[in-house]
């Protein structure tokens, strides 16, 4: 329940915001929602796998945040904007 709500909020956040930093934060929210689910079911099934998975997800989230923020900084240097709608160089 809680996990689903958090995930839905994160998903809405990813789609509706124009600020790239906020979009990254929303992605972190979604990963956290998944983590809650994994830990809850690890408790429910009395197995450690869920917690191990959660640790790996946290690792991936950390790496993703670092690389994503580096990309945002570089984009800001090039374009002076972090608005998603204005970065459409690849738009045909």
């Amino acid at each position: 329940m809680l996990s689903g709500t958090l995930f839905a909020i994160g998903l809405v956040g990813v789609i509706i915001r124009r600020n790239m930093i906020t979009v990254l934060m929303a992605i972190e929210l979604m990963l956290n929602a998944v983590n809650i689910n994994l830990v809850a079911f690890s408790h429910h099934l009395a197995s450690l796998e869920g917690q191990i998975f959660t640790i790996f997800i946290i690792t991936v989230a950390a790496g993703e945040a670092a690389v994503g923020l580096a990309i945002i900084i570089q984009l800001y240097r090039l374009r002076s904007t972090i608005n998603i709608d204005e970065s459409r160089e690849l738009h045909g």
Partner: protein, 220 residues
Amino acid sequence: MSIALLVFFVIGTIAVAASALVITMRNPVHSALFLLLTFLCVAVLFVMKGAEFVGAVQVLVYAGGIMVLFLFVVMLINVRHLPEERVLSHFWKGGFAVGLGVFILLFAIVRPGVYRDVRTNKAPLTTAKDRVLGPSRKNPGKLAYRTVRRHNVNSEAVGDALYRDYLVPFEVASLFLLVAMIGAIVIGKRELSAEEEETAPNYMLEKVKTEEKVKEAMSA
């Protein structure tokens, strides 16, 4: 209603409210601070579910590392939003629709009350086996190894599983972090501009030349 359930509801409500505020705040700094609140609430939930180690890692990595990274970038970029400027994307209606759809879907799939704790044996989550050298029971006067179970050591159990059963994924994760670090440094690096090249000290220019040589060598 037990106290644990009450705490769960209070913390869960705070987490949902804070995450809703994360995506509605105009100022990214406020968003980041509410994100921090959400992370801390989630860490409390982890600890309540008997995952103390994951809760600690959550606080350290998310609240400590990722939040500092976010705040640093927000303040480095320093975008001022005009009050009348739109925050929402062009297709915000579609975004809300998709979010609502996913929420209804998850609501339909996950039925609260169905998932009771059927298995009362939570031993694997919180115990660790030890081999202890002590006086033997069979042969008095001699030493022998005995297996002793210790309880309430979640972090030890997690560490045991990480380093024994999941050693290869663990090493792959460390390699991934190394690659992410190098990637972030390379992407975030700045080329020197013309006026900076005039004022830069010599050793820095030599470094840039070496980097260009390395780049050419790698592209060739």
